[in-house]
């Protein structure tokens, strides 16, 4: 009974939070709602007797990837989407790819409904077939050792790629109001030769 309650509770949170993620205008709220959805999914993993996956879901997804998203949203000061257009025209009536996309989503829902309704009774899970963390580790480092090593290279590539892509091009440095003028030394020399009260300040000093 408690398991059913937990399942429906977590499932409801996950679905509602995900719906709100794609319905929200403010990107920060979207990120926070997605974190809530990940938390609910983590609860579902605990119900599926996979505590290791549940915890690394929180550590990796909710604790690292979402922090990255949040930082990017904050640093870009992400603007809200244009809402008047969205409120005037229903997604299914908009031109071009959006109509196609919305129609496709509806089709997907209908298809899934049909397929899952026909699947019949799959029964409950076999009891006692739980993989412990030790078994996961053993399998990971023996059967999947190659994939494990390749994943480490993948992360290295992603790190290097992210740093290179997000780097500001030095040629387009914006001039700040406190920029040092190029002829600073000459001006300093001129100023010291005049004593107190040097030449008039140049325009790019505050």
């Amino acid at each position: 009974m408690t398991e059913a309650l937990a399942f429906y509770g977590f499932a409801a949170i996950a679905v509602v939070a995900s719906l709100l993620v794609i319905a929200q205008r403010n990107p920060i709220y979207s990120v926070l709602l997605l974190i809530a959805s990940f938390g609910a999914l983590s609860g579902l993993y605990v119900l599926l007797e996979a505590p290791f996956v549940a915890v690394i879901q929180i550590i990796v997804y909710a604790g690292a990837i979402m922090v990255l998203f949040l930082f990017v949203v904050m640093l870009l000061n992400a603007p809200h989407e244009d809402t008047e257009y969205d409120e005037r025209v229903h997604p299914l009536l908009r031109p071009g790819p959006m109509k196609f996309g919305a129609g496709l989503a509806l089709l997907l829902i209908a298809e899934l409904w049909w397929a899952l309704g026909r699947s019949g009774d799959s029964g409950s899970f076999p009891a006692g077939a739980v993989a412990s963390v030790g078994a996961i580790g053993r399998s990971l480092f023996t059967d999947y050792a190659f994939a494990f090593e390749v994943t480490s290279i993948l992360i290295l590539v992603a790190m290097v790629g992210a740093v290179v892509l997000a780097r500001r091009d030095p040629a387009e440095q914006r001039i700040s109001p406190l920029a040092v003028p190029e002829n600073l030394e000459e001006e300093a020399r001129v100023a010291s030769s005049f004593g107190a009260g040097g030449p008039a300040p140049t325009e790019n000093r505050p």
Partner: protein
Amino acid sequence: MTPLLIAQIVLTLFVFVMLLNSAAIMVYVERKVAALLQQRLGPYLVGPKGLLQPIADVIKLMFKEELRPRAADPLLFALAPIISATAAFAAFAVVPFGADTTLLGLLREPLRLQVADVNVAILVIFAIASMGVYGIVLAGWSSNSKYSLLGGLRSSAQMISYELSYGMALAAVLLIGNSLSLTDIVHGQAGTWFGFIPRWFIFLQPVGFVVFLTAGIAETNRAPFDFPEAEQELVAGYHTEYSSMSFAMFFLAEYINMVTVSAVATDLFLGGWQGPFAETIGWVWFLLKVAALLFFYVWMRWTLPRYRYDQLMAFGWKVLLPVAVVNLLVTAAGVLYFGI
């Protein structure tokens, strides 16, 4: 409603209340120890030897006006201290603080002195430490002021950078302890070598202990890593715009995080509740060890100068992380060679 269930519920409430008390005690201890280190008196007016000072502080905080800047996002502004405080309390839920007890024979089965007995306890602590970052970054963002935003971003960047070294030190202990459950790790530290040296993991992992404690101090944003909330540089960092009970919650969250890091370090490295007569008064040993680590925390704050932010980040990435990784490798080699 078996007696065991009632005892567990009472234990949960007890742990919650004791954590609140520990924050209050830490307020007093911090001010008194700071005073003694600086050769002055500290609080001495309120109650005998100033012992009622925390109560005065709490009453003052409760009666202050609760401000909210007009440009602040109301939902996030209210949510941020809640997330901080919740994460701080939740992390302590999986920390065991004593041996199994039958409460002097009242219970038929022993009560585990741990609010939630999960067998992946170490990972849960790490996960909840990751969630604590959100309280700070949302506080910085929602206040909509430059000091808060800078402080919040710097603080959260610092926390996620030092989490890596924290995790590596944890992983090294995992190799020796052979289990993810904190209770098993403490049980693995029972007994002595040569009759008088206790089998604590600090003797097997001295570097790991130093890395863990340093990363823990950086995680809790305490000096010498408290640049993001330094008064001289950033007014008060991410909690500039907070007052009254919201500020109290950040305050509370910081002290409880300190207690949690000390408690986890005690369980992992100092043998938890092991000591003479561990079965009955194990929790006393635990308290003494946690108190020693908390004193160390306060001592560090009032002795060391503050790291500048770029020095702090450079230290975390270029010094602490390689040391932690090498420690992990050496530990793995040791475990393979000695077959511990």
